[in-house]
């Protein structure tokens, strides 16, 4: 590593990535990770710099390829969230997924698209409003919490303030205004369900974590006798059968 201090001034010399094992209990700045060389990842850093899940797309069926490819283009303008809600939503998605520079997975647009199309999850807690209403209340609550800490809005807060409010949101320790009308813990669950499902459905996030991506029809082409190999498979190093027959069979 040639960079020892990140632009934000954080120490990058400790690549130990398990927060609980670190004396300060904080995750390290992700900039210690290598730059992505193949394909793209969020912020172009990741643990698998030469891995690109899209290099395998010729082995996917056409329907799967179309669904994954559709996530890669520029997202359409938001339809569900109002112009005044959008900056708060973007700031929330950025702080939740740790995305601070381009390229970003357009999580805010993906959440908006899901809510605008009415593609809800089909379930909700008995003491919670419908998910679209929860989202609007939640964004208002974040702005209220930001105002209480002296900022104009959640989006206008600096990163430390946003992370502090977000951490309080995660611990359900936000109070006052909207938060007194809402089960904060469940609101956080509703929020993160949509944000994480959107983020990790994007091929850039797959590159970052080394996820293998779709597996069809490859893997399902030669089912049946194990002696029949798929085109990408190679014979084993030995012909030994791992499932031994009982003697005398």
């Amino acid at each position: 590593l040639t960079v020892a201090v990140s632009p934000s001034g954080r120490d990058l010399t400790r690549p130990d990535h398990l927060p609980h094992l670190r004396s300060d209990g904080e995750p390290p700045d992700p900039l210690w990770l290598p730059r992505q060389r193949a394909g793209a990842t969020p912020q172009m850093i990741g643990r698998y710099p030469d891995y690109d899940v899209l290099a395998n797309e010729a082995n996917w069926d056409a329907a799967t390829r179309a669904v994954v490819r559709a996530r890669l283009g520029d997202p359409p303008p938001m339809r569900f969230f109002t112009a005044s809600e959008q900056p708060t939503l973007r700031a929330l998605c950025d702080v939740a997924t740790g995305q601070d520079v381009e390229p970003r997975v357009p999580v805010a647009e993906m959440v908006d698209e899901k809510l605008a199309a009415g593609r809800l999850d089909g379930f909700r807690y008995a003491d919670m409003p419908k998910d679209p209403d929860t989202w609007r209340l939640m964004l208002r609550g974040l702005d209220e919490s930001a105002a209480r800490s002296g900022a104009e809005s959640f989006a206008a807060c600096n990163t430390e303030q946003q992370e502090a409010i977000f951490a309080a949101f995660a611990k359900a320790s936000l109070h006052g205004g909207v938060w007194d009308e809402l089960n904060v813990s469940r609101a956080f669950s509703v929020c993160m369900r949509a944000i994480l499902a959107s983020f990790y459905s994007h091929p850039w996030a797959w590159n970052e974590i080394g996820y293998g991506g779709p597996a069809y029809p490859q893997g399902y082409m030669r089912m049946g006798p194990t002696s029949v190999l798929e085109p990408h498979e190679r014979p084993g190093a030995t012909s030994e059968d791992p499932v031994r027959e009982e003697s005398g069979s």
Binding site: V67, G118, L120, G122, S201, P217, G224, P225
Partner: protein, 102 residues
């Protein structure tokens, strides 16, 4: 089969008869078996009527049909084509769920 004989044949024989003989035809896609699937009219008498082609009903129908039963399944949901509607992607499959949210 003796181990030495099977090793000599080197995979030229199929597996012992088991459920794998019912697996999909590896050389065909689309809807294998559709043309041989029995179709009954409203007036036909059958042995069993299953409500709901879910994970339980579908398997029950298949197993009993193998044994020669005349089986009908009634399903309220739409028909999903395995090649065109099913994708190998979790977020892309959410629309298949029966969640009453459109």
């Amino acid at each position: 089969m003796q181990r030495w004989l099977r090793d000599t044949l080197k995979g030229a024989t199929g597996p012992r008869d088991n459920d794998s003989r019912y697996l999909l035809d590896v050389h065909r896609r689309d809807l294998p078996g559709q043309e041989t699937m029995a179709v009954y009219t409203d007036g036909d008498e059958v042995d069993l009527c299953i409500v709901g082609a879910g994970a339980g009903g579908s398997v029950l129908a298949q197993r009993l049909a193998r044994e020669g039963w005349r089986v009908v399944i009634i399903e309220a949901g739409p028909f999903w084509h395995p090649d065109e509607d099913w994708v190998s992607d979790e977020a892309g499959s959410h629309r298949l769920y029966w969640n009453e949210s459109g």
